[in-house]
Structures are given as C-alpha cells and as structure tokens.
Amino acid sequence: MSLTTPSEPGPPPAPEPAPSAGGAANGLSNDAPPRPPFAQDWRRIARMGAIGAIGQIFISLSNMPVKLDGRAIIEGVLSLGYLSLVVLPLAAGSRVGHQLRREGVPFHRPGAHEVIGGAACGALVGGGLSLLAVLIANFDLREPLVNWSPILAELLAFNRGTAFAVIIWLAIGAAVGAAGGLLRVVPSLARRVLWTMVLTLFGSAVLESLTTDLAEGMGIEGLVDWFYAPRGGLTITGAIALAAGSGVLAFVARGRIKGAKARIDALEGPARNRAHLGLILATAAVLVILPMFAGKLTNELLANVGLFVLLALGLNIVVGLAGILDLGYVAFFAVGSYSAAVLTAATSPKIHPELPWFVALIGVVLLTGLVGLFIGAPVIRMRGDYLAIVTLGFGEIIRLLFLSDWLSGWFGGSQGITNIPGAEIFGLAEVAGTDPRSVFYLVLAFCAIAIYVSWRLERSRIGRAWMAVREDETVAEAMGINTVNVKLLAFVVGAVLGSFSGAIFSAKVGSVFPASFLILVSIVILVVVIFGGMGNIVGVIAGSAVLIGVLGGPKQPGLLAEFSEFKLLIYGALLVWMMLARPEGLIPSVRRTRELHQEELAQDAWLRGQTEDDNGEDQS
C-alpha cells in the first residue's frame, strides 16, 4: 500500500548514532497519508517563488550567466552560465516540499503534492527571468545597471525573441522545480544515486584541466579525450557514460562506505591507530606521486591550495581551538613573507644578510613569534566583538607599516622587495616559483608539520586548556588556568604556522608587496576555516581544496577561473547557506557539532539516559 517510506528523518548528522533514536522517532511521529495534489500552501509557494525570482534577476544582472556561458559543462547542452540559472528553481522546488519531522505533528508521505508544489514554485522562480526578459526588451536601464544588455536578453531568449524567453523560462522553472519536488518523493537510495551522478558530472567538468593535465603526464590522454570535448566540457557520450558509471557505482556501494567508516570508528586502540595510519599514508602517497605526472598549472594550483591549507591550519588553532576570533591573521602571513624576503634577498633595501632560506626560516619564526606576542599581549585581554575588531585593526596596521614611507627604507614601501631567491634545500633541490612542483613539495612538508602540531597540541594539556577557555573563560580562570598565557600561546603558535606559509610564498612568488596582504586574505582564510569545519583538521583541508582549489584565492585563480570576479559573491552565498544549513561546516569536528546542536542532542541523551539514571538512584 505504501508507495515510499522516507527512511531518513532529518539532515543534521548526529555524531554518535543514537541507537534508539531512529526507532523512537518512527514510533513517536504519526505518519499521515499523502496530501491531495492541489491543496497547496500557496502563500508559502508564492513567498519562496518571489524570493527565488529576485535571486534569479540578481544573478542575471550580476552578469554571471553571460560571463560563465563560455565555460561548458556538457558540450552543447549546458554551460556554467545556464547552470547558474537553474540552481535556484531546483533548490526552491525542493525546499517547498520540505516538512519537519516532529513528534506529534503528522508527517505526510511525499507524493504528487510535492512535485506539483515544486513545479509551481519553480515556475515562479523561472518567471523572474521571463519578467527580466520583458523588461529588458522594453526599457533601457543600462545607466545604473551595466549588465542590462542585449547580450543578456539574447542569452535569456536563446536568440529566439522575447516571447520565447518568457515561455521557456516558465517551462524550465516548472520542470526544474518539479524535479526538485521529485527529490523529496523518490526513495533515499534513488536520491543518493541521483546526487552522485549529478556531482560526478559537475565534478568531472570542473576538474577538466586537472584531469587532462594528469592524463597527459601519464600518457593516457586518448582515454580522457573521449570524455572531454575539444573546446571544453564533457562530450555527450562521455557525460552519459560517466553518469551511468557513477550511478551504478553509487547503487552498488550503497551503505558500504558508511559501513566501512563505522567499522573503522568502532575499532579500538592499536587497530584503530593502524587503520588511521594506513589512511594517512595512502593519502600522503597519492599527494607525493600525483604531482610527478602533473604539469605546471596543476602544480601551481596545488601549491596555492597548500599555502592556504597552511594558513587555515594556523588560524584554526587560534579560532577553532582557542576560540579567539582573529580577523587580522594576514598580519602573520605578511610578517613571515617580509622577514623571509629581507633575510634572503640581495635586493632588500636596508639589511641583506642573504641567508639560505632554511637558515632564514629560524629568523622568520622568531620574528613572527615576537610580533605575535607584541600584537597578542594587548589584544588577548579583550573578549568577543572587541577582540575581533582590534585584531582587524592590527592586521591593517601591519600592512600599512610595510607600505609606509617611514619604513620604506627597510621594506621598499609600495615597491616592495623583488628578486627574492627561491628556497634551497640543503643543496639537494632548488625551490622556486619557476618550478611549482618543488614548491608544492615544500608546502606539503610544512603542511605535514602543521597537521602534526595541531593534532598533538589538541590532545595535550595545552589543547584542553584552549577548549576550556573557549567554553567559559571566567570558569577556566577560576579553575587555575592562566587564560592570558594560554591564549597568547595559541596566538603565537598560529602566528608561526602562518609565517611558514608567508616564507614559502615569498620564495615562490619572488617578490612581496603590501598589496598582497589585504584584509581580504584574512577574511578568505576565515571563510575557509568556517566552511571546512572549525576545529577539524580534515575539514580545514577540505575547505581549502574546495574554496581555493575550485573558486580561487584572493588573487590566485582556481579551477573555475571564470568565477574570479564572482568569487566573493559566491563565497558569501556559500557562507550564508552554510550557516543556515550546516553551521558546523563541511567536515565538522565532533565538538563543534555538539556545541551547535547541543539542545537536540541533550534531549536525545536525556530521553535515553532517563531510565538508566533512575536505576542508578535506586541502587544507592
């Protein structure tokens, strides 16, 4: 009788699977029959549709569709530009069918109702573009809105006139919205298979340059050429093959990946350590071997990602572990870069000891540590918002000092310091910007150091003290923790890790200018940490890979180089979405998840612990 039974009640991942939660939830909530198809909550649909339509118009007028149209996802079928116009109808269509599964509130089995609601909402969202097409045809608003152009009109109309645009966007919106609604209806396995297919297609299109580059390095470009069209994007046959292949894989692997992970997590003591060590070694092997086959551009990209991983790991200690919201972290990146430049470059204006890079590194660490102490000492006594604002100020002060006339005798003012030699590694290898592969290896080594430092410190007396300070500073102080010292230590450790990144950066680029150290860098690193998962090493790395690798850093292009001018817009959108949907980040730390979902988890635990505690009381 039942068509589908939604197997998973809610999205937020519980860190510890509550053994009874699933059963209890099903037992407690009342499943209701599907709603009649046309008895919709029209106000909700209208509201969401209107928001989506405004979003569509905004995206169009930001010129994203036109700019991104050049980048094909699937040859002749879908470009990144058009993709940017179907995301919102899909999301809105799916969102409209969302119901909270709550105790005592009937949960309607999804069905035609959700599909029709999704279609209606999607049509409204798509209608935003129809409206825009009509407006562009009749009014000229190019004066304030620079992208109010015939090019946009043509793109919206597929070169077939305004009437076509009106109809087609209503239709596309409805179809995509219906698909979004359908996602609620299909069983969770089908949903997972579908998502895997979509992500595989999108992922392989995004990774095109990387894949082809690697394939060339390995001499198997013939294979890859079959998937990618000569002018970019997946070929249709390639897309079909990839979708089918990944779909089959997802179907076969259903539950197995989670199962394997659960098995590893369930291991105890040495066996677990061995499993983790195995995973780490395998990852390290891939990271060491891959670049050998990769070309210059790929290695350049990897090196950039690595530099940001290093920065993010450092900031993670400050923000994620000790809970100090540092908005001026770029200061340490800058001090690291400049001190390395002064110590190694012959062209350094004032003093030029021309030390070898590794020797200079000692000086870099000492100097940055000192600056960390110097900035940290006054800052650390503040709390919360005040602290954040003051760090923001210090970050800017450091940059202005490097820019100033007063110190230009030392650091060259706006001219910066140029002709910085590469890093020589004990006469074995020369690391320079001209050889991104060696830069990547150097970055990799320092990332390994930073990961080790974060990992060991978190599991030490110091790490626990940081957590206590983050939880409740007053109580931490009353429990005998010298909060000033402990926070200062976090600040300095973070500063030193950041300075490594700076020292490698100056050797890689060969020059340093104040303009490389804008506030934007601080913000980007912070976004990476938040997006990836604050307090979690793997999360921070994943965050850098996705944001810096795909979208690009403040000045560094990512895989989707077309995004460069929309980077900040997308960063912001991602951040907002993340805060709403998954505030603990991409790969959360168990602790952060606890903090953010404390009430829910406490309730679960309470429900579970109830009987147990009563027994305990009786025994005593």
Binding site: V453, S460, R461, E471, D472, A478, M479, G480, L601, W606
Partner: protein, 265 residues
Amino acid sequence: MSTAAQQPILETRGLGVDFGGLKALDGLDLAVYPGEIVSVIGPNGAGKTTLFNAITATVAASEGDIRFEGESLIGLDPNRVTSRGIARTFQNVRLFANMTVLENVMVSQHCRTRQSVFGALLFTKAFRDEEAEITERGKEVLSFFGHRLVGYRFDQPAYTLSYANRRRLEIARAMATQPKLILLDEPVAGMNPTESAELTGLIGRLRDEWGFAIVVIEHDMEVVREVSDRVVVLDHGVKIAEGDYADVAVDPQVIEAYLGHGATA
C-alpha cells in the same frame, strides 16, 4: 575540630565588597581552620556568593584583607588563587559543557602540571607520564561519586549529564585542582531528598578522607545541621551570628533576618 591554638587556613579581616554603592559585604571577619566544615547561611542577596567571589578573586575586594595560610590573596589573579589551593563550585552549575566528563577533571589540573608545547610535540616520556598521571587522578576523583561518573560516562560530554550529576562533576572538578580548601556554593540546590542526603555524606567524607577544609553555602537547614562544625550567618553583607548549629538556630537575630525577608529556613 577547630582549636584556638591552630592557625586558620583562611581568614578574612574587615572584608568589604562594593558594587557601585551597594555594599554586598561589609567589614566581614571570618576564620576557617584546617579540617573544618563551615556553613555560610543567610537570606537571598545576603552576600554569600559574593564572599566566594571575593576569596577566589573573581570580584575585587574594596577593603580589608583575605589571608590564606598566612599570606594575603589581595591582588592575585583567580588562577593564582586556585594554584595556592582554593577551589570552588558555582551556584549556577558552570561546567565545560562540550568537553567530556574526564576532560573536565583533567583540564582543572592545569595549574598542577607543567608540560608545555615542546613536550607535547616531541611526545617525550615526561609528557606521557604526566598525561597518564592527569588521567589517573581524574578517574580517581570521579570514582569518589560511585558508579555515576565512571566507565562509559568518562567520554560523554558534560551537558548530557543529569542535573545532580552535573553538580557532582563540578565538585569533582574542584577536587582535581588539588586544593586545601573547597568552597561549595549551594551544592544540593535542585537535588531531591535522597540525592541531597547522599551528597551530605560525601561532604563529610571530603573532609575525613581527602583532608580538605570546606566552606559550604547552603539553604537546606537539614544539610547544614548534618555537616557543619560551625555556622556563619550573613545578612546584608554583615555577619549577624556565628557558632554551633544549635545556638545559631535559636538566635533571635537570625530568626528576625529570615522572617524579616519572608524566606523559609
């Protein structure tokens, strides 16, 4: 317990705390002797918690002196006071909610341990020994409360604990700082009669087995009668009576203070 010949472990002389004109404590003289359990009672707002805050340097004393083992605590930071040997609990339980039960009692040994960044990074023998010792002592103080905070509970975040267990963990956390004097701020508030009777027994054992001197703020007169060697009564920041439970309970000024405030005693 208290012998006049003995030197008090804690002594306040003319202690005053001023909150912008409001005298929360005024000219308070108080002495606590080693191995003694002193109860501080008084109506709400009498200044009891403020007394604890002043001793632990959470609020600054505006006049008078606080001496611990003969040395003044005035001007010290809270963490220095704790490392001198005074630990406390909070009236409104303030655990490190997202840290595990075991981590809560490990982190409060901070001022008794030395290993820093280099030990942790190089994973030295000294570091490993100290970690083992911290864990060991943590488990020891937790086992003081029977089966409630041990076993699988070690690794549970503190917020999952029941209310009574949170209060117990707060005491364990204070014990782990290896104090000589423990300040308990309404330790049985919110507990049911069975639980509070049990905790009353534990307070006695804290003194007998662990050798702590204890100052306890308590509203439950049953508990006060049970545990105290001496009772100090505060009202409006002033000490209005001091002595055995039996004497204090019939003191007209004390009865007046409670009845006058309409509070139940």
